[in-house]
Amino acid sequence: MLVMVSLQNVTKSYRRGHDSLTVLQSVSLQAREGEFLALMGPSGSGKTTLLNLIGGLSRPDSGEILIADERIDRLSEQQLTRWRARHVGFVFQFYNLLPVLTAEQNVEVPLLLTQLSRKDRRRRASASLELVGLADRAGHKPAELSGGQQQRVAIARAMVSDPTLLVCDEPTGDLDRKTADEILVLLQTLCRERRKTIVLVTHDPRAAAVAERTLHVDKGSIERSAAGRGT
C-alpha cells in the first residue's frame, strides 16, 4: 500500500531569545494511504509541532518530509501554501470558523482558491455539509450551532476540496463525550469510505483508540507505537 506520510530524521527547534529549544529530535514515521493515525503525548511533547510539519504549516530544521511522494520540506513558502490548498484539510480544536459567515459559506471558503464557478462551489459546499449530516444547517452562523455541529462544519470545510490528508489537532478537545464520539465516528467513516489519511493529535485515549495506530510522542521523540480499535 502507498505510503502517504513519511518523515525521516526530522528535527525541529525554536529560538527563544538566545536559546534554542529542540522540540523534535530526529523523528521518523510513516502513515499509509487511508490510515487513521493518532499522535498522543503529554503537553509540550512535540505532537502538535509534528502535526504542523506534516500539514505544511511549519518547516523542519533538518530531515525529510514526504507527503504522497512530494518533498514538502524543499518547497518554498509560496509553494507550500499552494500545496496545502490542494492536499491538506485542517480540523482545529476550536473549529476556527469565520463567525460572520454561514455554515455553507464557511465550507465554501477553501474553494475560492480553485477555478470552480460560484454555482459549482455552492454545490460542493452543500454536498460536503450533507456528508457531515448538516445539510439542514447550511444557513446557520457558527454562533447558532452547537460545538459538535461547528466541528462538523469544520470537517466539511476540511473535506470540501477533497484533500489527500486530514490533519486534526485535538478535534474533540472542546466537546462533551457523546459529541466527541460522534465526531470520531465521522472521522473514522471518512477514513474508511473516502480513503482519507488522517493524522490526529489528541490527549484523549478514547479518541486514540478509534485510530488504527497510535504513536506516543514524548520529549520530542516517538516513544512507542500501538494498534487501536480502528485496526
Partner: protein, 377 residues
C-alpha cells in the same frame, strides 16, 4: 461567496466600529472637501481676474471716497484706455432682507473696460441715454422676475431709487451675478451726502505689461492732493482682500495636514484593532492555502472600501455645503464656488493615501504571521 464576500464579512464583523470609522472618515472629508474646494475656488477666482483692469481707491484706510473729477484726470494718463466712476449703494426690494447691490457708473465706459460682459448694444445705448435706466444681471432678473421695461423701486439707506429696466446683461464675474448697473449721475443725485464722490474708479490699460507703471503714474497724479489714491490691478485687489482673512493657502494646508494626520491615526487604529481581532481567522485562511498576496489584498480592500466609500460620501456632502460656505464671503466673489474636479480628485487621492498608509503595514503583518504560532495562541 467570493473574495468580496470575505471582505464584506470582515467589515460586518463589528458593524458599529465600521460605521463609526466610516462616519469619522466622511466627516474628515467634508472638512477636506470644503477647504480644498474653497482653496481651489479662490485660486480660480484669482486666475480669472483681469490684470488689464486697474482699481483706483483712496489710500486712506477705511475706504474714504474720491472726487468724481478724478475719473476725467485718470482718463488722461498715458496708457489708460478707458475709465469709469463707481459708487455702490444697496437697495431693498419689496422685503427688508431682499438686498440688491446697485453700481452707479458710466455704463458705456464700464462695458468697454469689461468687454466680456455681454449686453445687447441697443440696450446699452438706450440705458446710457436714460438717467433712470438700469441694466440688470440675468441671474438677478430671473430671481426677481424682471424684464426689460419694468420699473423697480428700491429703498436705500438714504432714499428711494426708481429704476427702469433697460437691459439684461450677463457678467462673467460671479460677484456681479446679482447686481444692477445704473447711471452714476442718477445715483449721485439721490445721495444726500458724499455727492460728486466715488468709492473707486475702474480703468483699463492698453498694455498689460505697463499696468504697474500706469498704476504708479495714476497714484503720482494725486500724491499731494487731499485724496491720495491707491491703484492696483484687479488681481492684486482680490489678493489683498483675501489676505485680509489670512493666508488662505497656509491655513488650508495646515488644517488639511491636521485632518489627514488625525484621519490616518484613526483609520490605522481602527483597522489595526480589526486585524488584531482576526489574526486567528487570517491564520486559518493562510492554513487553508490562501496566499500572502490574497490576504494582503483583502486587508487593503477593507481599508480602501471604508476610506473610499466614506470619503466620497464626505465629498458629496462638502459639495452640497460649499455654496452655503461661500455665501458667507460674498465680497470675495465666490458665489458660484463648487467642488472642482481638481479638488475632488485631490480628495480621492488623499483617501487612497490614507487607506494605503494605514492598510499596508497591517496587510503585511497579517500575511506574514506565523500560522502555527497564531493558531496555537
Amino acid at each position: 461567496m467570493s473574495y468580496a464576500g470575505l471582505v464584506w464579512a470582515a467589515l460586518r464583523r463589528r458593524p458599529t466600529r465600521t460605521v463609526l470609522t466610516a462616519l469619522s472618515v466622511a466627516a474628515a472629508f467634508v472638512v477636506l472637501g470644503a477647504l480644498l474646494g474653497f482653496n481651489a475656488g479662490v485660486s480660480a477666482l484669482l486666475d480669472s481676474q483681469q490684470a488689464t483692469v486697474l482699481r483706483v481707491v483712496s489710500r486712506v484706510a477705511g475706504g474714504a471716497p474720491l472726487p468724481v473729477a478724478y475719473t476725467q484726470r485718470i482718463q488722461t494718463v498715458r496708457g489708460v484706455a478707458s475709465a469709469a466712476s463707481a459708487v455702490l449703494v444697496f437697495g431693498r426690494y419689496q422685503r427688508p432682507r431682499n438686498v440688491i447691490p446697485v453700481l452707479g457708473t458710466d455704463m458705456k465706459a464700464l462695458f468697454t473696460i469689461y468687454p466680456r460682459f455681454a449686453v445687447p448694444a441697443a440696450q446699452l445705448a438706450a440705458a446710457a441715454s436714460m438717467p433712470t435706466a438700469a441694466l440688470v444681471a440675468r441671474e438677478l432678473a430671473q430671481q426677481q422676475h424682471w424684464k426689460v421695461g419694468d420699473r423697480i423701486a428700491l429703498r436705500t439707506a438714504t432714499g428711494d431709487l426708481e429704476l427702469d429696466v433697460a437691459g439684461i446683461y450677463i457678467p462673467d464675474d460671479p460677484e456681479l451675478a446679482t447686481w444692477i448697473i445704473a447711471n452714476y449721475d442718477y445715483i449721485n443725485a439721490s445721495r444726500p451726502r458724499d455727492k460728486d464722490t466715488v468709492m473707486g474708479i475702474l480703468a483699463s490699460v492698453d498694455d498689460i505689461a505697463r499696468a504697474p507703471e500706469i498704476s504708479q503714474a495714476i497714484d503720482s497724479l494725486f500724491e499731494n492732493s487731499l485724496y491720495p489714491t491707491l491703484t492696483e490691478t484687479e488681481r492684486q485687489y482680490r489678493v489683498s482682500q483675501i489676505n485680509r482673512i489670512g493666508d488662505i493657502g497656509l491655513v488650508v494646508n495646515a488644517i488639511v495636514a491636521a485632518v489627514l494626520f488625525t484621519l490616518l491615526f484613526l483609520t490605522a487604529n481602527s483597522l489595526a484593532q480589526s486585524v488584531r481581532e482576526r489574526m486567528g481567522e487570517l491564520a486559518v485562511l493562510k492554513a487553508l492555502g490562501f496566499p500572502n498576496a490574497a490576504l494582503q489584498a483583502m486587508v487593503l480592500t477593507e481599508a480602501l472600501a471604508v476610506c473610499a466609500t466614506a470619503g466620497i460620501a464626505g465629498l458629496g456632502i462638502a459639495a452640497l455645503l460649499l455654496p452655503a460656505l461661500t455665501s458667507n464671503f460674498p465680497t470675495l466673489g465666490l458665489r458660484s464656488l463648487h467642488l472642482m474636479h481638481g479638488a475632488f480628485l485631490e480628495c480621492i487621492g488623499l483617501s487612497l493615501i490614507v487607506a494605503l498608509a494605514s492598510g499596508v503595514p497591517l496587510a503585511r503583518k497579517a500575511s506574514h504571521a506565523d500560522v502555527a504560532k497564531t493558531l496555537s495562541g
